[in-house]
């Protein structure tokens, strides 16, 4: 069954139920969403979009965007969502790179985008939505097009499961974004796992915090829309504003929340969660980076009744291991929780530097195979080949299998550095810094240095906003780490810079 057929199935069963609600209160029912996405499909097909084509999406996160996504899938094409807050030049590059056949674009972005598009075969047609919101903008655009040339009603296409469903662009090592190609099989095997693991019902209300160009959005969109549940869209601006977000989770009666840990940290530190009613919330899922235990503990104190899941996996596999954090969270625990065991539909192995399986309990790189694993990077055969060990995808993450079969995340392969010959794991230094009561955020980067190999720079933000004595911090670190791991330099920030996917912007910190 294709990805969009999951939605069609629940639309048939839950026609009158609310499918999506925006933060501003605009809603759309399953039947209306089915009809609107049918119109998108018909228009795209009339304009010549074929099965296997790519269609770009450049819209703020609204009902219009989800209807467009479903319309693209129904036309048999793959959608390519871009970050509406990113520069038009980057988004233009992405659309050119995968040669989109058409793009649905909000008018506020269309002029700048047009100037950037340079496809040799001529720029693709842009469907310009005047102002996305509530599905109304998309509807007006389709009405206008129908007046000139009505789009005949057609059938949704069913494509082979090996066809692409979407391409998510992530930052590439060469400085150009690279397209992670994911098929209907990849997507649906993941959605099946979500349905089995989180057992959503029609009464659930899922949050959609992550932007649509981020892989967290796959769980956000398709888990509720495959089960007759409601999806609440958190717009880009509210998503970074703790008080607004805290109010939204309460008011929309969210039952399943999913975001990067940094957002949960922000909520527990600055969201003033006390006194609000979060009785609806039943599960909090987080992924994308390590959740410092100090903040997880603080969140659990405020939301003691919900379940907590640590989901792990790169865009290339989506979630491939997961761990349920079972309270209580001991007062003295500073070590992050494990990333858990490999999801049931996948297989994992841990290999050493020579690609040989390690003994259980030894460190190595986690490699994953199974139906979730990407098809490859768009037109990058060499990078695709390098990403695999036989049919296992190399995550680039170093793990250790603990007793009980759970994996503990040790660090990124590229975050292991050598300083004066000693091996240093930068994440371990962050864990030590997070044990300091004044530290709110910590990011440690290695800067190349002729003498030492690297200099270790710690970027910090504090609870009070004041600087902490570097001598005191060094003393604190030296009581917890070997002396060669004590950071050489400390820099204080009001809050640490984030990427568009709400992770700490390590590259920016390194270059800055």
């Amino acid at each position: 069954m294709n990805l969009h057929q999951y939605f069609e199935r629940s639309a048939a069963q839950s026609a009158e139920a609310c499918a999506i609600e925006q933060a501003d209160g605009a809603t759309i029912s399953y039947a209306e969403l089915a009809a609107l996405s049918d119109r998108v499909r018909d228009r795209l097909m009339l304009e010549g979009v074929e099965a296997g084509d790519r269609v770009g999406l450049y819209l703020r996160k609204t009902i219009d965007t989800v209807a467009s996504i479903l319309g693209v899938l129904k036309a048999g094409a793959a959608y390519v969502p871009v970050d509406p807050t990113a520069p038009a030049s980057r988004n233009g590059y992405i659309f050119d790179n995968c040669r989109v056949k058409a793009a649905i674009v909000e008018s506020r972005f269309s002029e700048k985008l047009e100037a950037e598009l340079q496809q040799p075969s001529g720029a693709p047609p842009l469907f310009v939505v005047d102002e996305a919101g509530g599905g109304r903008g998309l509807e007006r655009m389709l009405d206008g097009l129908d007046e000139r040339k009505p789009a005949p009603k057609s059938e949704s296409r069913e494509v082979p499961m090996s066809n692409l469903a979407y391409i998510l662009y992530t930052s590439g090592s060469t400085g150009k974004p690279k397209g992670v190609m994911l098929t209907h099989e990849n997507a649906t095997s993941f959605v099946d796992w979500c349905l089995e693991t989180f057992e959503p019902t029609a009464d659930d209300v899922f949050s959609s915090h992550a932007p649509f160009h981020f892989d967290l959005s796959i769980l956000d969109i398709y888990t509720p829309l495959s089960s007759g549940a409601k999806l609440v869209l958190v717009p880009e601006d509210v998503g970074k504003e703790p008080l607004g977000l805290a109010a939204l989770i309460e008011e929309k009666r969210i039952t399943v929340w999913y975001s990067a840990p940094s957002i949960l940290t922000m909520l527990t530190q600055r969201g003033e969660l006390e006194g609000r009613d979060y009785s609806s919330l039943r599960a909090v899922l987080f992924a994308g980076e390590v959740f410092p235990v100090v903040h997880l503990r603080s969140l659990h104190e405020k939301w003691p009744h919900t379940r907590y899941f640590n989901l792990y996996g790169p865009t290339e596999t989506n979630v491939c291991t997961y761990y349920e954090v079972v309270p209580p969270i001991p007062e003295d625990r500073t070590e992050p929780y494990p990333i858990g065991a490999v999801c049931s539909q996948l297989e994992g192995i841990v290999v050493d530097l020579d690609d040989q399986p390690v003994e259980k309990g030894d460190e190595g790189e986690l490699c994953i195979k199974g139906p979730n694993v990407l098809n490859g990077y768009w037109e990058l055969p060499e990078q695709t080949a390098n990403a695999f060990l036989a049919d296992y995808y190399r995550t680039g993450d170093i793990v250790v299998e603990e007793d009980g079969g759970n994996f503990r995340f040790v660090g990124r392969r590229d975050r292991m550095v050598k300083k004066r010959g000693y091996r240093v794991e930068l994440g371990e230094i962050e864990t030590a810094l997070y044990a300091h009561e004044e530290i709110e955020e910590a990011a440690v980067v290695a800067i190349p240095d002729d003498d030492a190999g690297v200099m270790i720079h710690a970027h910090l933000s504090t609870v009070s906003g004041d600087k902490v004595s570097m001598i005191k911090l060094k003393k604190f670190c030296s009581e917890r780490l070997p002396v060669y791991m004590v950071p050489d330099r400390f820099a204080f920030h009001e809050s640490l810079p984030k990427t568009s996917t709400d992770k700490i912007d390590y590259q920016g910190l390194k270059n800055g």
């Binding site: 004066r420 030492a452 004595s469 570097m470 001598i471 060094k474 004590v486 950071p487």
Partner: protein
Amino acid sequence: MPSPEDVKATIKTYILEEFLPGEDPDELTDSVELMTMGILDSISVMQLVSFVEEKFDCSFDAHELSVDHMNTLEDITKLVTSKL
């Protein structure tokens, strides 16, 4: 001949400027453990020693560049003063 107080003040200023830029000078007390806390490592100790040798026209033995002799501002001041 510089007094021990002058020696200490000169070395303290140097350490603050070179290895702890932005730090509050009051935090760097006489007993802060410079080497065992990771403020000075084997390379930065050599850099400090070169500075001191030039500034006060003295010289160090290799064995003195160690945690036993140079772990605190007080240790270093004592060592340097003994050479003047």
